[in-house]
Amino acid sequence: MCGTCGCDDPAETRTVLLEQDVLAKNDRLADRNRAWFAEHGVLAVNLMSSPGAGKTTLLERMVTDLGGELAISVAEGDQATRIDADRIRAAGGNVVQINTGTGCHLDAEMLAGALPVLDPPPGSVLLVENVGNLVCPALFDLGERHRVVIMSVTEGEDKPVKYPHMFRAATLVLVNKVDLLPYVPFDMPRFVDAARHVNPEVDVLPVSATRGDGLDSWYAWLRRAVPTAA
């Protein structure tokens, strides 16, 4: 007889209620990271985009432009190679490379492992360059304060409705490569409509990491978000 309900199921199985959140382990570690950032007065920003949107170019530029004013640490996520970390280091940045192997996203445990190595000082910014992918990283909380999606004008203005989870979780979208606008058919108002359709509160800033357009606004946004020293 079945041990749960008394039926005559010959398999004699027993049902165990679990009600267990599958992401609970990652969320727990993310909360621990969040507490660490709060305690150390560090602003953590999770940067996400498709491959080739210009994350690393933007980071190189930021390290150069803000180096004297704002301490910046970078956690570089890629499936393989140290190429991106070497680029950031060459620009003068404090950087750790995280290789995910077959993994398509960073998780909270990987970032936790990078923190003692980076040791970001109080009042500084930790920029996490997630694996280039508009799908998987959306699901994994790293303990960051903000999620910023970087997309480039060559990707087309309908990206937010094609990848709603990614855009819904963002505080800000940086639309990169606006220096290419004369050469590609990208409709900025249509893009803003698409982004607000999935995320009515999202901010959008057009930038060019190579030519410098819009970077002052992005840096002002970052400065406002940095915790003031206690």
């Binding site: 027993r14 049902t15 679990l18 599958v22």
Partner: protein, 109 residues
């Protein structure tokens, strides 16, 4: 393919709670707004379960629709996918359900 990591999370969650107990059936609840492809989870499950107490277990997945409250008209509405909008036309919805990713229950032999 974050479903591979998600499915690994399912197996970990079960073995953490039940240790070496043989599991014959797993019931998951994956909300329609969770961003998880159910077919990929079905594909990954036997591969991830291999060599664990979940090997050979039957996998059942319940997919409840989402619910959201419209910030414009206040109506509570059912959402079948992440792009669904309120009947009033507004996309400004506060999601109240549909993003869950749960191991509901298991059957042990």
């Amino acid at each position: 393919m974050h479903e591979l990591a998600i499915t690994q999370g399912v197996v970990d969650a079960v073995t953490e709670r039940l240790g070496d107990t043989r599991v014959s059936r797993v019931v998951l609840e994956i909300g329609r707004l969770s961003g998880v492809a159910v077919e990929s989870v079905r594909f990954c499950f036997p591969l991830v379960a291999e060599g664990t107490p979940l090997a050979g277990a039957r996998l059942d997945i319940v997919e409840p629709p989402g619910r959201g409250r419209c910030r414009r008209c206040g109506r509570e509405t059912e959402l079948v996918d992440p792009l669904a909008v309120c009947p009033c036309g507004s996309a400004d919805l506060e999601l109240t359900s549909g993003r869950q990713l749960l191991v509901k229950r298991v059957e042990v032999a």
